[in-house]
């Protein structure tokens, strides 16, 4: 059994309530931080932990916190990114549904470390049930004195609010999220400046994923050094993996980073193998934005060594033979799945979700969708395959935010690894339809 730092008590009845959460040691991190540590010492522990952003980019959390500008007399904000919309990713919803106080406790500690007096949890609008759960948990915490004025008599004040989104994948991009929180369309801003310098209402702001914030709780309880002992190399700690697709047991799993991919897919402790006795054909290991890999490269590097669930190991081989950990959205495809169809589906998704600010993304995602659609539906030409590669190259790196790259990579990697399947759709247009 791997170590559980976030989900240890997830199956305890009533763990969604303050009372039971407290019985299981909840809010100790708030007591420890506010009563025995300075804000800078909290940041130091998070730095020592090696925690990397769980939203997908993997940027070191402690470092991001230490970059926060602190001009005199200007408010600072912590905003939790609970917009979770990356296809294949559903861990934040799981955590908020079952153990909401873990997020709230983390928010209090992190807000204290950053000197924020008002913090927001931006939850995707479709998660109305989770919004209600969080609001209830906040009310409980406030009534018990963990939030509000003069928390634990330390003189620290904090208000915490939940903000619903309106339904837009792009609002998970942190600057689009801030625009949305300001009541505007979710158009990403040009970075730099990073939110740490100019974020919400132009003030210094840290945006962190739900899981990153929740991980602060065990880091403070056990100390950053202890946290850093879990995991492997620069991939410290545990990670929530959302497993979906053709698996015997899809769901959310907390793994120690460094777990072999093969064990994750096939062992009974995790996904239990491929559903219906079929064989694994391919995986998208880190949410729809990361390159797709065929089964052999999912389980092993090109040189035959086993691949592990970690930032470094999943990206071993670069885009030629590797992928990325991303947000931990692990999608498994069985042998009957059509790669062209799935690639078209993802391209349609990105076209639908493009905010439209940059023409390479707005137009390019439309082209990808259209060309993939005609290939899938038997009207494609051989030259369309190279056209797709060409269009994805023209999008990649030429846009304001990484949504453009996220649309381009899945197409380019699907053609790289499954070109024969694209060609088959051109050669056998009628068969491919059935």
């Amino acid at each position: 059994m791997g170590r559980k730092l976030l989900l240890e008590h997830i199956n305890v009845p009533g763990i969604n309530t303050l009372e039971v959460y407290r019985q299981k040691g909840g809010y100790r991190a708030v007591e420890k931080a506010l009563k025995t540590l300075t804000p800078d010492e909290v940041v130091e522990e998070v730095k020592k932990s090696g925690l990397r952003g769980r939203g997908g980019a993997g940027f070191p959390t402690g470092m991001k916190w230490s970059f926060l500008a602190k001009p005199e007399g200007v408010a600072r904000y912590l905003v939790c990114n609970a917009d979770e919309s990356e296809p294949g990713t559903f861990k934040d919803r799981y955590l908020m549904t079952h153990i909401p106080h873990a997020l709230i406790e983390g928010m209090i500690v992190a807000s204290f470390a950053l000197g924020a007096k008002t913090s927001y949890i931006y939850v995707r609008g479709e998660m109305m049930p989770q919004i209600r759960i969080l609001e209830k948990a906040i009310a409980e915490a406030k009534a018990a004195g963990w939030l509000g004025k003069n928390i634990l008599g330390t003189g620290y004040d904090l208000e915490l609010y939940v903000q619903p989104g309106g339904g837009a994948y792009i609002c998970g991009e942190e600057t689009a999220l801030l625009e949305s929180l300001e009541g505007k369309r979710g158009n990403p801003r040009i970075k730099p400046p990073f939110p740490a310098i100019a974020g919400l209402y132009g003030c210094p702001t840290v945006v962190n994923n739900v899981e990153s914030i929740a991980a602060v709780v065990p880091i403070i309880n056990d100390g950053g050094d202890e946290y850093a002992k879990v995991g492997i190399g620069r991939s410290t700690g545990t990670k929530l993996i959302s497993a979906s697709g053709n698996l015997v047991k899809p769901g959310v799993y907390e793994i120690e980073l460094g777990l072999p991919v093969e064990e994750f897919i096939y062992s009974d402790e995790y996904c239990g193998g491929i559903a219906n006795g079929k064989r694994l054909k391919a995986t998208v290991a880190g949410g729809s934005s990361v390159p797709i890999l065929p089964a052999n490269l999912t389980l092993k590097y090109a040189n035959g060594e086993p691949r592990l669930m970690s930032y470094e190991s999943l990206s071993e081989g670069g885009f030629a033979t590797g992928t990325m950990l991303g947000s931990g959205g692990f999608i498994a495809f069985d042998e009957d799945q059509c790669i062209v169809r799935n690639t078209w589906n993802f391209a349609r998704f990105y076209h639908h979700e493009s905010c439209g600010q940059c023409s390479p993304c707005r137009e390019g995602t439309g082209w990808l969708e259209k060309v993939l659609h005609r290939l899938e539906y038997g009207h494609g030409k051989m030259s369309d395959i190279d056209l797709l590669v060409d269009v994805s190259k023209k999008i990649e790196g030429n846009t304001i935010c990484p949504l453009g790259d996220a649309a381009a990579w899945p197409v380019a990697s699907a053609i790289r690894h499954f070109r024969d399947e694209f060609e088959w759709h051109v050669k056998e247009p009628v068969k491919s339809l059935s």
Binding site: E126, S242, D334
Partner: protein
């Protein structure tokens, strides 16, 4: 409650305005525009859609231009700019759900309700549409129904039939 007749101005009840006021209090002074998305959700929960007249009224309340409300309501996918059926079945149509049969579920719903995506059934009760990943891919196929956004997971044709029949028989679900 609030009522919209095409030509009549919308009135927000005092209970609703109280909710608006509480939301505005969450932001620093002068940043009341931050309340726009949450307020539009409340309006839609009452009316079933964000009608032009209601949006004008929201602009007036927040002291912003009407265009600032329209551009937001039209950008985000959750706000309905047209009246919809009382129950809008929103089925996830993104990759992971399609790996385990979401497309079949959508075909089944279309057939069962007898209306195309986005249309309203003759009795005014139902609409359906495909939406993008609902962050529930491990419990696929899934659909949600507003305004509470209740989730229905691991759908089968039978469970969809039961759901639709239950909604037909239990029309006060929304009260």
């Amino acid at each position: 409650m609030l009522k919209v007749e095409e030509t009549q101005p919308v009135e927000f009840s005092s209970a609703l305005v109280e909710k608006f006021d509480e939301i505005v209090s969450r932001y620093p002074a002068g940043k009341q525009k931050s309340a726009l998305l949450p307020i539009l959700h409340l309006v839609q929960a009452e009316l079933g859609w964000t009608s032009p007249l209601a949006m004008d009224k929201v602009a007036e309340y927040l002291n912003i231009e009407p265009i600032e409300v329209y551009e937001v309501a039209s950008f985000y996918s959750m706000y309905f700019l047209q009246p919809k059926g009382k129950y809008v079945l929103e089925v996830c149509r993104t990759g992971p759900c399609c790996l385990v049969g979401a497309e079949k579920i959508m075909d089944h719903i279309e057939h069962k309700l007898g209306v195309k995506e986005g249309e309203v059934t003759a009795d005014g009760l139902f609409s359906w549409r495909g939406v993008e990943c609902l962050a529930a891919c491990g419990y696929a196929p899934v659909l949600q129904i507003g305004p509470d956004y209740t989730f229905y997971e691991n759908l089968t044709e039978q469970s969809v039939d039961t759901l639709i029949d239950n909604l037909k028989n239990k029309q006060d679900l929304r009260q």
